[in-house]
């Protein structure tokens, strides 16, 4: 089996290097964009209760909708290829980051912000010097959830033509070629475990000892 896999990876016809690059590219772009948008939206909605209500409930609803259904839903509008796939993955990754940013900000003791205002900080200074450092570990937990979800879903995106290891898996399923399926499943699993390990380490690093214990497991995913 190992030999078969090795033969598969080293066969130039299978383009292992460029497939790997495509997969990593897809994941990385989606994660970075989802985190950036999620944090920005989190800060934005925390300043307006109506926006917050809408964002929280939309995110909650998205958690219940199966990822595969979600990927398909964008298909008629965005077509196939890298762009629709990465867009779908970004939208998928936003809710956990947004929710954790928002709840993290909401749960900061009001007197701390009051004190910051009292010593004459501007709105921007309050965000960068007070709120952001306090909310960081909670955001990190959301980022971890988002990243793992994106990595886990990226192979499925091959069904809508995103490329990457998903191509091996999809092709393998349709041709019932076990080695090819495994050739896709193996690196995907390794990357998922690496991301999980790395992100949980990062989360621990950012958490002041014994201060927060927040990890949401509420995210449904495929």
């Amino acid at each position: 089996m190992i030999n078969d896999l090795w033969a598969f990876y080293s066969d130039p016809a299978n383009h292992f290097a460029s497939t790997s690059l495509a997969f990593l590219n897809l994941c990385l772009v989606a994660i970075v964009a989802a985190v950036a948008i999620g944090i920005l939206l989190g800060f934005a909605v925390s300043r307006n209760s109506i926006l917050a209500f809408v964002a929280i409930n939309a995110s909650g609803l998205m958690r219940a909708i199966p990822v595969i259904a979600f990927l398909i839903a964008v298909l008629p509008y965005l077509g196939v290829g890298f762009t629709p796939a990465v867009t779908a993955l970004i939208i998928l990754g936003i809710p956990p980051v947004l929710l954790n940013t928002y709840t993290g900000l909401r749960d900061i003791d009001g007197s701390i912000v009051d004190a910051a205002k009292g010593m004459g900080m501007t709105g921007w200074q309050i965000i960068t010097r007070v709120q952001f450092p306090l909310v960081l570990p909670i955001v990190a937990a959301g980022v971890r959830t988002a990243a793992i979800q994106i990595v886990a879903t990226a192979p499925l995106a091959a069904f809508i033509g995103a490329g990457g290891y998903g191509d091996y898996i999809v092709d393998g399923f349709y041709t019932l070629h076990t080695v090819e399926i495994l050739a896709g499943a193996l690196p995907v699993s390794i990357i998922a475990l690496l991301v999980e390990g790395g992100m949980s380490g990062l989360e621990r690093l950012l958490t002041p000892a014994g201060l927060y214990k927040s990890r949401s497991l509420e995210t449904a995913r495929v």
Binding site: A64, A73, L75, T153, A192, E196
Partner: protein, 218 residues
């Protein structure tokens, strides 16, 4: 929409009709949850009782949960082929983390004062479990079951890849030949099923949480 609205697709004699695929999907989800609970409840109760067991158990469940479901199905094909276990095993393994975690949290996060009070009025350990621990833990446990069930509804679509039917058939069998209408119909049904089950279980959760803040457990 055309696909969903066409009466032709509701012919019960056709095994590939919408109702048949729908019930196939429900059956798979139901079977998964049944076996998952049979495994998770004793494991959770043990882990709640013996603290030393909790960390390794959760670590294993966490690793299993991290492996992408499609990858796990792919691994299993090499061993169990295009059979029910190939999709059933990953589905069951996936539910364990959230189920065990919530069972343990539900039982261990009970205010020790209430256990003390129960003991003080002369409850034996069985009465304490039945009248205090279980009713107080149940909302958290049901919250876990809810998340696990909704997740399972989504992942169960992979059953189609190993020829086990379900709503995934509408998606995976039609996506390759570009029948988008059927694909979208599958996605809509899948999403609707997940949302409805989510709301039903949320209702159960709130009902069980009587006397306390109705939405305190999510």
């Amino acid at each position: 929409m055309q696909y969903l609205l066409s009466p032709y697709n509701y012919d019960l004699s056709d095994p590939e009709s919408i109702p048949n695929l729908f019930f196939q999907h429900l059956w798979l989800v139901g079977l998964t949850m049944l076996i998952s609970l049979i495994i998770a409840i004793p494991l959770g109760l043990l882990a709640a009782r013996y603290k030393g067991l909790y960390t390794p158990l959760i670590a294993v469940a966490d690793v299993l949960y991290t492996i992408p479901s499609i990858a796990m199905v792919a691994f299993l094909i090499a061993f169990t082929g295009l059979q029910l276990p190939t999709v059933l095993i990953p589905l069951i393994l996936y539910t364990q983390l959230v189920l065990i975690r919530n069972i343990v949290a539900g039982i261990n996060n009970i205010d020790p004062l209430l256990l003390e009070v129960g003991k003080g009025m002369g409850m034996n350990s069985f009465q304490l479990f039945l009248r205090v621990r279980l009713p107080l833990a149940l909302p958290t446990i049901v919250a876990g079951i809810r998340i696990a069930t909704v997740t399972t509804i989504g992942i169960a679509s992979l059953a189609s890849l190993v020829a086990q039917g379900g709503l995934g058939d509408l998606i995976f069998k039609n996506i390759a030949n570009g029948q988008l209408d059927a694909v979208v119909a599958g996605a809509i049904l899948l999403a609707a099923l997940a949302v409805i089950v989510d709301l039903l279980l949320l209702g159960l959760q709130v009902a069980l949480n009587r006397g306390r803040n109705a939405f305190a457990v999510s």
